[in-house]
Symmetry: C3
Subunit: 159 residues, 3 copies
């Protein structure tokens, strides 16, 4: 799938890629590992920026399910932006393999799957079958900078 | 190790595979990634079902260590059920590579390793040396649907 | 990079490798997976030992940022010790691919990236560009044995 096709899919969804955010610390956003026939890109945990502002807060407390789902989608857009910056083009994405979704949650909030669908449905909407991935979604009591959601990814890429 | 051999091992332990649960959301249970000589199956985070009922609750609060360990074992059985459904046969399992165990815990519960042994010991009991894996085990304040344990996996598989 | 070069780098930093700790449970510290051209070592979550004592406690409560950062570095040293024990030599490390940092945190502690830099900066100080990795860092309410930090790793290794 070419970058132009992906941009068109995003536009259909009323979305566009953000500028790839610089890591806040001593790591890099994407590392590609594996042999020539099994290249995997490991994408650092991405935080949710909407209109340039970090979505902060906690599900079950001061972030609604709708806001949380949108935050997860924003993490997904940043994952794509990081991949595009690292690989040159999203045309090199072969398969979204695994997403790890960490949801800032109170002890009685248990709808992490619904929130994580914000990023999962984005990947399927963009890449179709190649966007279908394995996933874990868990609650955490706090996240970097007070973010509502953090998502990391493993992505199979073409050489 | 053939499916029949694995079923026999499970029977010795008084266990059997559950029906592979459908994912509760927009993802798939297993994704196989990597080159032909290094195929890895990434298994989504699995929740603990015993006799068809989700094991809910929190270690240190309303779930005993015994119940938690049994819940972790149930997550492991579901991981195997998902692999069998995805690969056709557990005979294709070459090595359990990594388990990620998330234990629903109060702030003062620190026996996550003991709980996670429920799934770790299952893998070694079934696969022997091929069941010896790397692992992380951490406490979390809440999990999807109120589950007591969630476990995801990376598994090396034969083509 | 040879073991001697790595020992020299560590000495420059005033550091040395600990004895590789035995796993506290039914798993192994390192599993190498992948095809001959894409070998990945998966390192189990490591806890922070300084002068033989586990660094316990919670960021935001009874562990300072400095202590937490030092604990993360100690996890990194243990990751290297485990790799050396498993591979025979750290000369086989090709690239630090991904670190997963779990920080024992109160609900209002949000400087997980700063804490995780303890391990991230160690890897870059030791391996240079080959030490630059993808990372996720999240808060958790509790960790095994009351540890302040737990870090797992995926590392590309030479055959």
């Amino acid at each position: 799938m070419t970058d132009a096709e992906i941009d068109a899919k995003l536009a259909e969804l009323g979305l566009s890629l953000p500028v790839a955010a610089a890591p806040v610390a001593a790591y890099v956003p994407v590392v590609v590992a594996g042999g020539p026939e099994g290249l995997l890109a490991h994408v650092s945990g991405q935080l949710p920026f909407i209109d340039g502002a970090l979505v902060k807060g906690r599900l079950g407390e001061n972030v609604s399910a709708e806001e949380g789902t949108a935050a997860a989608q924003a993490c997904g857009l940043m994952i794509l932006a990081q991949l595009k910056a690292a690989l040159g083009s999203l045309d090199k994405v072969e398969r979204i393999v695994k997403l790890g979704a960490f949801i800032n949650s109170t002890g009685d909030f248990t709808a992490q799957p619904q929130i994580a669908n914000g990023v999962s449905e984005l990947m399927v909407a963009i890449f179709g079958d190649a966007g279908k991935h394995a996933r874990s979604a868990v609650g955490v009591p706090t996240l970097p900078l007070g973010a509502a959601v953090e998502v990391d990814a493993i992505v199979a890429v073409r050489a």
